[in-house]
Symmetry: C2
Subunit: 246 residues, 2 copies
């Protein structure tokens, strides 16, 4: 039997009422990029917001667009080996905030995204991916062969190796999600500084074969209260990071 | 003494002539997004291109914009713990193609991006990051403290743990780079299926304390020759991937 998660215990419930799969995305959630900023302008605008304004909530359609971009992010062999938790519940966010060294964007933003990677690749998980491919593309022999090979390669590996691979895929989606937030002019704060075991307990992840990887609070910057906003953005020079092999 | 890399041996040279740090980015390389596509439209347009048209090269200003987006991608504590290799040399790409199960976008595209993560965190590497912060933001006590703590936490850890962390940061940049390519209407093919040890040898990465993590060929799709282009894009439903905690 799965243990009751801290979340359930906190809220005095059996873990069903308030944790729900997200409804299907609305048919047209392609919010136009009204400002027509380029990607580089968006990357310049965003920063790891340290102080969010608790009075401003991110509108649902913007959250939907960010979540949708994360869902559409490419992953290795199309496995999408992670799940996304969209946490608005104040008690739950407060607990996660404590497990993350009291980084206040978690509670002062309006939404907390938790990326949770598969703890392992299993035959059942890969079969589900193969089935989804068959549904979308038809029952091509190629699909069965491809995912058959994938199972033969992945499933015998050490769980830690597979988790590490799954976590990297979540980071692709994190990169896409960061851009999506900036496109929507929503502030976000990528965070690795938290105790994953505690966050796993709070959200009941272990029972679902998941491990928390990275957090992304969403909200709006408090321009007067954020010390980081006043500081220059720091990036290595192109000469330092990039090598041409011509 | 560092061994001569396969690249050097291949090209019969001492490894200096053709491997060069990239020049500084042009002052204004913010190519407008002429099509004004939203991020979701860009993510829908892109796919892991299987057949590129070798007759079409990606213009330099588009490569610059993609590289610049990768450079601007956020990373943990601003460490940017990876380097990017932009490979156009046909012999080198041909060698890498062989090390990647003959995936032809590597040679049929015009540019190959190789993301290479730090093999470890060291005091010297973190000091460089701290110095860059001091240069941009002033010699604030906070900066010395912060990166001092980071060194105390990271440097004693196992090299594999540190490499795994660095590799994840490269994957954030991969996610951003994928979006940047799509914004520029450039096709790209993220690839993990290669022998990293061989690619490390080809590019002389080990001597530089780097390990190849992921490849991203850039080019233009061959619409008639690409079997994947004809197929439906497959993604899990939002209900499957996303859980709301309200």
């Amino acid at each position: 039997m799965a243990k009751k998660s801290l979340l359930d215990r906190l809220l005095g419930r059996n873990g069903k009422e308030n944790i729900a799969p997200a409804p299907a995305a609305p048919k047209d959630n392609r919010i136009p990029n009204m400002t027509n900023k380029t990607l580089l302008e968006q990357l310049d605008w965003r920063y790891a917001t340290k102080k969010m304004d608790p009075a401003k909530a991110v509108p649902q359609e913007k959250v939907d667009a960010i979540v949708e971009a994360i869902r559409m992010a490419p992953t290795s062999s199309g496995t999408q080996p992670f799940e996304l938790f969209v946490v608005t519940n104040p008690d739950v966010r407060s607990q996660i905030c404590k497990a993350a060294g009291d980084q206040t964007p978690i509670t002062e933003g309006s939404h907390l995204l938790v990326f949770a990677a598969w703890d392992n690749y299993t035959n059942a998980r890969i079969d589900e991916v193969a089935d989804l491919n068959v549904k979308a593309r038809g029952d091509l022999p190629l699909i069965g062969q491809y995912y058959g090979n994938l199972k033969a390669n992945y499933v015998p590996r050490d769980a830690e190796v597979n988790y590490a691979h799954a976590a990297r895929q979540a980071y692709i989606a994190l990169g896409v999600g960061l851009v999506a937030a900036a496109e929507q002019e929503v502030d976000s704060t990528p965070m690795e500084g938290f105790d994953p075991a505690t966050v796993d307990k709070i959200l009941g992840l272990k029972e679902r074969g998941l491990r928390s990887v990275v957090l992304l609070p969403l909200g709006y910057r408090d321009p007067t209260g954020d010390w980081l906003l006043q500081m220059a953005k720091v990036r290595k020079s192109r000469e330092t990071m990039v090598t041409l092999v011509n």
